[in-house]
């Protein structure tokens, strides 16, 4: 069984980007507890604008809101922000979790709805991947996380 982890890192070494500021995510694939770098996914601002949702015209245009689905659903938190974030969440929607320095409350909730965990930690990428893959392996195999002292 394999799954993907999205990491927000500017240099590939340290987790140093917040979810909001990250321009790209490095995607790792974990198979049987062993992780390897799969690809990089870049996030382009204009993608959201093309979708017709931005702070400028988002809420005034009923059409664009409907297209996005966010405003009409009444999720709140500002159309522009939510729209942008949704697009970014879409970018990592096939991942099991994302790792970044910090993450906002609303986007974390959006990810939760897609069953994506968010870990906000500042540590080396390697360390995070070790710990996360260890955790998921235990969970998947129904093993206790209990530390034997």
């Amino acid at each position: 069984m394999s799954y993907k982890i999205a990491v927000a890192s500017s240099d590939g070494q340290q987790i140093d980007e917040t979810f909001g500021s990250a321009k790209r995510f490095i995607i790792y694939e974990v198979t049987d507890g062993i992780y390897k770098r799969l690809e990089e996914r870049n996030f382009r601002e204009e993608e959201t604008d093309n979708n017709g949702v931005s702070a400028a015209d988002g809420c005034n245009s009923s059409v664009s809101c409907k297209n996005e689905g966010g405003c009409a659903g009444g999720t709140g938190g500002g159309c522009g922000g939510a729209g942008k974030a949704s697009a970014k969440a879409e970018l990592v929607s096939d991942c099991r979790c994302i790792v970044c320095k910090k993450i906002g409350f609303h986007i974390q909730k959006q990810l939760e709805r897609k069953a994506i965990s968010a870990f906000d930690v500042a540590c080396p990428v390697e360390e995070a991947l070790e710990k996360i893959s260890h955790y998921f392996t235990r969970i998947d195999n129904h093993e206790s996380l209990r530390v034997q002292k």
């Binding site: 965990s117 870990f119 906000d120 930690v121 995070a128 955790y135 996380l145 209990r146």
Partner: protein, 432 residues
């Protein structure tokens, strides 16, 4: 195979947050998931200066499971010290941080030099229930806060009884025990309830002896204090309810403390005179054998199961059926407690059943022939059952749903009278 426990009668060890809450101006700092305090809090008198809704909590989540929650714990303690005006901070750990191996002791040790004392107790749910958790908190106070004292205050006695909040009558009971102890000339010291806090804790090491009134809860604490603080203890296993047991209790305490026998007898005499005056006035009610049930069962923790069984047999002359001890009493104490149930007047003996599964308890009650309708004193879970058996029912143990108790009590002479009032109030309603 996994077992399902039907209608359990205690909480997890983290429920010891209520033990901390019972110490005035002491606050639990929880290292647990969000919602633990909410689930564990009762509405039975737990609001006030500190209440479970404002207990500082690390609210650990998935991230802390993966990466450890010690950093969050440190900032939570740090900020609790800043924003909450308390005298004692007790860090309590829930299951999750204990499972993933957070070193809570190490984090708490960083606050050794804080202005206020910060201690911690390991109260993970898988380590036991809130009776054990209560012991852990007192252990933490002994181990991490108290120091041995060379100085001893003449006549000072620390009194320890059962678990606050879990025991509905905890406040009234301990005050009544204090009152009785002071009447025979000793000075009681307790740490729970109104006006009892850090100052009383500070006095613990100066006591001449510890008095434990409980079948088993806190016995390990007494042993610890004997070893660390050099305080001997008197273990009185039965909560004294009514004249017979209370007089016996006072004699035993008086003997242990070396008090003049005549003084103790005078106190006993005064109380007994009034007690039996009341009993005598209502003798026609008690002797009317249609009013009260022939046999009874108590379904409660060891404290009430034992205390009430002795009271009903010795003072009221009722016949005990099976008695159910539901607090998951640790195995090493069970034999001694069972023996206590056999020490009844009139050659009576009661059988104690240690059982936590309500289904099994209810089946045994249904099977037993009470020679008429039963008298059941238990938790709210026994209400429906007793109704179906057309018996008399009184809610005396947790969970409590149909009774409000502020500072009522069953301990002592007065407590015995209160219990008679409660039982007969139920009994006479049958005919009126």
């Amino acid at each position: 195979m996994a077992k399902l426990l039907d209608k359990q009668r205690y909480k997890c060890a983290l429920g010891a947050m209520q033990t901390v809450q019972a110490i005035t101006r002491a606050i639990p700092v929880l290292h647990s998931g969000p919602g633990c305090a909410q689930k564990l809090s009762d509405t039975t008198g737990s609001s006030g200066y500190f209440s479970p809704n404002i207990f500082p909590c690390t609210s650990i989540n998935e991230k802390d499971v993966v990466f450890g929650g010690v950093k969050k714990l440190e900032t939570t303690i740090e900020n609790a010290l800043k924003v909450i005006d308390a005298d004692l901070y007790v860090v309590l750990t829930g299951c999750i941080p204990e499972i993933v191996g957070d070193d809570t002791g190490e984090v708490v040790s960083r606050f050794e030099n804080a202005e206020k004392p910060v201690i911690y107790a390991s109260t993970a749910g898988f380590k036991g229930n809130n009776y054990i958790g209560h012991e852990q908190v007192i252990d933490a106070i002994i181990d991490q806060y108290l120091e041995k004292s060379e100085e001893r205050e003449k006549g000072l006695v620390n009194i320890w009884a059962d678990v606050p909040y879990q025991d509905l009558f905890w406040l009234g009971n301990i005050r009544e025990l204090e009152k009785l102890i002071s009447e025979i000339g000793l000075t009681p010291n307790t740490i729970f309830g109104y006006n009892r806090g850090i100052n009383q804790i500070n006095k613990i090491p100066k006591a001449e002896f510890n008095l434990l009134v409980s079948p088993w809860v806190s016995l390990s604490n007494m042993k610890k204090m004997e070893k660390k603080l050099g305080i001997p203890y008197l273990h009185y296993p039965t909560l004294p309810i009514g004249a017979f047991e209370t007089s016996k209790f006072l004699r035993e305490v008086g003997k242990f403390a070396g008090i003049d026998q005549e003084k103790v007898e005078n106190v006993i005499n005064d109380h007994e005179n009034y007690y039996y005056y009341l009993i005598e006035r209502y003798a026609d009610l008690f002797l009317e054998n249609r009013v009260i049930n022939k046999q009874f069962s108590v379904v409660a923790d060891a404290q009430y199961a034992l205390g009430i069984t002795k009271f009903l047999a010795n003072d009221l002359g009722l016949v005990p059926a099976k008695q159910f001890v539901v607090d998951d009493t640790p195995k090493q104490y069970r034999e001694a407690i069972s023996e206590e149930f056999k020490k009844l007047n009139y050659g009576l003996e009661a059988e104690a059943v240690f059982e936590t599964d309500s289904y099994k308890i209810h089946e045994q009650i249904k099977e037993h022939d009470y020679h008429g309708y039963p008298l059941i004193l238990g938790s709210y879970y026994e209400k429906e059952l007793t109704e179906s058996l057309k018996g008399n029912y009184l809610n005396i143990a947790w969970p409590v749903q149909d009774k409000v108790v502020l500072d009522d009590f069953y301990a002592g002479y007065t407590g015995g009278i209160r219990l008679i009032e409660d039982i007969y109030t139920v009994a006479v309603q049958r005919f009126n």
